[in-house]
C-alpha cells in the first residue's frame, strides 16, 4: 500500500505539471485554432527559447527576468520566421504535407541543437527553498512558474477577448472566408497569431528553464503530450485544453507513483487514444 502522503504529493506535482502542459498547449492551440496547421515542432521552438535564456544568463550574465523577457521576443521572432518561411508557401497544401513540413522542422531543430550545443543537459540553477506543508515538499521554483503561467494564460485571454486584434483573431478561427469579406486581412492576422503563439513559446521557455534542464530532445519529451492535450481539449478550444492539461498531468503523475514512470505515460496515451474514439471533438465538445 502506498503512503497517502506520497499520493497527495503526486497530486500536487500533477497540478504543477498541469500548469506546464497548459502553458505549452496554449500557444500551439492558438495557432492550431486560427491557422488550422499543426506545428509539430512547437515544443522544439520552446526548447530553443530555453536555450536562449540559458545562454543569455550563463554566457552573457544577464539577470534571469531580463533574459525571460528577451525569450518572449525570441519566441515571437521564431514564430514569425516559421510562418513566413515554411507555412505561407504551403497554406493551400493538403494538411498532411503541412504536418510533414513542420516534422522536417522538428528534425532540423533537434539535430541543429545537437550539432551546435551537444547533447548536454543544461539548466539555469535557481536555488529557492522547498516549502514543506505537513510533510509534503513542494518546490518553490515550480510554484512561481505555475503562478506566472496562470498569469500568462489570463493575459492571453484578455488579449483575445478585449482587444480589436484579438477579436479579429477569434473571428478568423470561426470562419476564414467570412473574415476576408469583413475587410480584415487573414494573412496579416495569421502573422500576428504566429507571433503571439511564438511569444507564448518564449514565455513557456523562460518558465521551463528554471524547472527542467534543456537538451536537444526536450521537444520530443513534451511534444507529443502537448498535442494530445490540445486535441483532447478540442482543437482551438483554450478552456478545454486547460482542463485537459490537468487531467493528463494527474494521470501521469499519480500513475507514475502507483505503477512506474513509464506506465504513467502509457496510461495517459491509452486514455488519449480511447477518448479520441469516444469523443473525437475533444472532451468538452458538444455532440452535433
Amino acid at each position: 500500500m502506498i503512503d497517502p502522503i506520497f499520493l497527495l504529493e503526486a497530486v500536487i506535482n500533477g497540478i504543477l505539471l498541469g500548469g506546464v502542459l497548459a502553458l505549452l498547449a496554449l500557444g500551439l492551440n492558438l495557432i492550431f485554432g486560427v491557422i488550422d496547421i499543426v506545428w509539430i515542432a512547437y515544443v522544439d521552438l520552446v526548447a530553443l527559447c530555453m536555450y536562449a535564456v540559458y545562454f543569455l544568463v550563463t554566457l552573457y550574465g544577464w539577470p534571469l527576468p531580463l533574459a525571460g523577457v528577451a525569450s518572449i521576443g525570441v519566441g515571437a521572432l521564431l514564430g514569425l520566421a516559421v510562418h513566413q518561411l515554411i507555412i505561407t508557401p504551403i497554406l493551400a497544401s493538403p494538411p498532411i504535407n503541412q504536418l510533414l513540413a513542420t516534422g522536417g522542422l522538428l528534425f532540423f531543430v533537434q539535430s541543429c541543437a545537437t550539432l551546435l550545443w551537444s547533447t548536454d543537459h543544461r539548466s539555469v540553477r535557481v536555488t529557492l527553498p522547498t516549502i514543506e506543508v505537513g510533510g509534503i515538499f513542494i518546490s518553490f521554483t515550480r510554484l512561481i512558474a505555475f503562478a506566472l503561467s496562470i498569469l500568462a494564460m489570463i493575459g492571453l485571454y484578455f488579449f483575445l477577448t478585449r482587444t480589436y486584434t484579438g477579436t479579429a483573431i477569434r473571428a478568423v478561427s470561426q470562419d476564414r472566408e467570412a473574415i476576408a469579406l469583413m475587410g480584415a486581412r487573414p494573412q496579416r492576422l495569421y502573422l500576428v497569431t504566429s507571433a503571439v503563439g511564438g511569444a507564448m513559446a518564449g514565455i513557456a521557455g523562460a518558465l521551463l528553464i528554471i524547472q527542467y534542464a534543456v537538451h536537444p530532445y526536450f521537444g520530443g519529451a513534451f511534444g507529443p503530450l502537448t498535442f494530445m492535450v490540445c486535441v483532447l481539449g478540442g482543437l482551438g478550444n483554450m478552456v478545454g485544453a486547460f482542463f485537459a492539461a490537468f487531467i493528463m498531468a494527474q494521470i501521469i503523475s499519480v500513475g507514475g507513483v502507483l505503477v512506474s514512470t513509464e506506465m504513467g505515460y502509457v496510461i495517459a496515451f491509452v486514455v488519449f487514444i480511447v477518448l479520441m474514439f469516444v469523443r473525437p471533438g475533444g472532451i468538452f465538445a458538444r455532440r452535433a
Partner: protein, 332 residues
C-alpha cells in the same frame, strides 16, 4: 514495355552480382549498407501502402517494434525458432493494427487526428518496451541470445553477410511485388475514392471500413516482417531504433523524399537518406554529430514546399510527359 523489362532485368542482375564482385577491404561494409537499404526500403514500401491513400501513420515504429521484439523475445525466452516467431509476431502486429484501425475507421478519425492517434500508439509501444525492462532490456535493448558466432538455418543467423544480402533483396522484391499488386487491384481505386471523400465513396457502395482495415493489416504485417528481419540481421533490438516517434518520422521522411505514389519512390528515398548519412558519418566521423539529420530536416521542408511528389515521383512525371508530348503532336 520490353525496354522497361530489360532495364529491370539488368538492374536486378547487377544487384544480385554485387556480392560476387571483388570490392576489396570495404566489401563487408558495402554489403552492410546495401542490406540496410533493402530492409528499410521494404519498410518504407509497406508504409506507403497506407500513406498514398491518405492514411498517414506516424506510428509505424509500433509495428516495427512489436515485430522485432516479438521474434527476439520468443527465441530468448521460449526458444521458438524465428521461422515461427516471425509468423507469431506478424499475427500479433496485425492484431494490434486492427485494434487501432477499426475504431479509427468507424469513428472517422482521419487526417491530423489519425496521425496523432498513431503517434500515440507508437509512443505507447516504445514506453512499454522501456518499462518492461526485465524482459526487454529496457532502453539498452536486447540481443538475440544465440551464443557467440552461432550460425544456422534454425536461428536464422549467418556469419556470412552475403546470405542476408539475398534475404534482404528477396524481401525488397517481395515488397515491390505487393505494392504493384495493390496498385493494379480494385482496392486501389476504392482506396483512392475513400482518400478523396469517405462519404461519397460509401455512397457508391464501397465498404470503407473493410478496405481500410485490409490495407492497414497488409501494411502493418509487412512492417512487422521488416522489423523482424532487421532484428535478425543485427541480432539486436533497441526501442529507440525500432520504435517511437523518431523512427516513425524517419520512415515517413524517406518515403516522402523519394515519392510515395511511384513504385520505386520509397526505395530511392531510403537509398538516398542512408547513403547521405553513411557518407557524412565517414566524412566527418564523430566530429559533427547531428549534421545528417540537420540536412534531412532542411531537405524535408524544402521538398514539401517545392517538390511534394518526391524526387523519383517528379522524375517519373517528367519522363512520362516527355514521352507523351510527341505522341500528342504526331497525329495531325
Amino acid at each position: 514495355m520490353t525496354g522497361r523489362l530489360a532495364t529491370w532485368a539488368l538492374g536486378l542482375v547487377v544487384l544480385a552480382a554485387i556480392p560476387a564482385m571483388p570490392l576489396g577491404r570495404a566489401q563487408e561494409y558495402i554489403w552492410h549498407v546495401i542490406i540496410q537499404i533493402f530492409l528499410w526500403s521494404f519498410i518504407g514500401n509497406a508504409w506507403s501502402l497506407m500513406g498514398r491513400f491518405g492514411l498517414v501513420s506516424l506510428g509505424h515504429g509500433a509495428f516495427l517494434g512489436v515485430g522485432a521484439y516479438g521474434t527476439v523475445l520468443l527465441w530468448n525466452f521460449f526458444h521458438v525458432t524465428p521461422w515461427l516467431g516471425v509468423l507469431a509476431s506478424i499475427a500479433l502486429t496485425v492484431a494490434l493494427a486492427l485494434i487501432v484501425a477499426y475504431p479509427c475507421s468507424r469513428f472517422q478519425v482521419v487526417g491530423h487526428y489519425f496521425g496523432l492517434v498513431t503517434l500515440a500508439v507508437g509512443e505507447v509501444i516504445r514506453l512499454l518496451i522501456v518499462a518492461e525492462r526485465d524482459w526487454t532490456g529496457g532502453s539498452l535493448g536486447v540481443s538475440l541470445a544465440t551464443g557467440a558466432g552461432a550460425s544456422g538455418l534454425w536461428t536464422l543467423q549467418f556469419a556470412d553477410k552475403r546470405v542476408f544480402y539475398y534475404v534482404g533483396m528477396a524481401a525488397w522484391l517481395f515488397g515491390l511485388w505487393v505494392w504493384w499488386r495493390v496498385d493494379r487491384s480494385m482496392a486501389r481505386a476504392a482506396m483512392e475514392a475513400i482518400g478523396e471523400d469517405e462519404t461519397a465513396a460509401a455512397s457508391v457502395g464501397i465498404h470503407v471500413t473493410r478496405f481500410k482495415m485490409g490495407i492497414t493489416a497488409l501494411s502493418a504485417g509487412l512492417t512487422a516482417l521488416g522489423g523482424t528481419l532487421l532484428a535478425l540481421y543485427l541480432a539486436y533490438a533497441n526501442p529507440d531504433t525500432l520504435s517511437g516517434i523518431g523512427v516513425s518520422l524517419r520512415i515517413v521522411f524517406a518515403v516522402v523524399l523519394g515519392g510515395m505514389y511511384v513504385l520505386l519512390g520509397p526505395s530511392v528515398g531510403t537509398a538516398l537518406t542512408i547513403a547521405l548519412s553513411e557518407y557524412l558519418r565517414i566524412y566527418f566521423g564523430i566530429k559533427l554529430i547531428g549534421i545528417a539529420e540537420t540536412i534531412y530536416g532542411l531537405a524535408l521542408i524544402l521538398f514539401i514546399i517545392f517538390l511534394p511528389a518526391g524526387i523519383w515521383g517528379s522524375l517519373a512525371d517528367a519522363w512520362r510527359r516527355r514521352r507523351a508530348a510527341p505522341a500528342r503532336t504526331a497525329p495531325a
